[in-house]
Symmetry: C2
Subunit: 94 residues, 2 copies
Amino acid sequence: MNPLTAEESAAALAKLPGWTLRGDGKAIARQFAFPDFRAAFGFMAQVALLAEKQDHHPEWSNVYNKVDITLTTHDAGGLTQRDIRLAAAINKIA
Amino acid sequence: MNPLTAEESAAALAKLPGWTLRGDGKAIARQFAFPDFRAAFGFMAQVALLAEKQDHHPEWSNVYNKVDITLTTHDAGGLTQRDIRLAAAINKIA
């Protein structure tokens, strides 16, 4: 899978509310906030199931009610449609 | 709850294989590695249940098969017995 061009990345991001392109253009990131840890981890469990199903995994961190997710495709050395697809699916459950 | 003294921290860490004291002495950290994402997230789910039960939550991140956990007690401004207790429980399930 080839990395997206700058134009393709911009077009994809326009349809992904909340996600921003990392400075180097090789990843997208979004922070999600919830009422508490239980809600935050419940969200993470749903994302984990999505990730397994899509065989594409997030780089993510959690501190209490906040979850920070970064998506990139290491095999391709940048952002690909796999990241866009996972981000769109995550937005649906958030 | 008061922060542990340097002596108390050292004594507690001696009983917590794999955990190290952060440079400022206010937190402990450990990285856990698993065969794959599924195993890593299964571990995280168990830690999440522990954390809820103890009402004390980790700062943590995950990239595929690796989970990095940092424990500190923000309310106390440093390391306390709550961190030691959670670290010991995490070691039991790892």
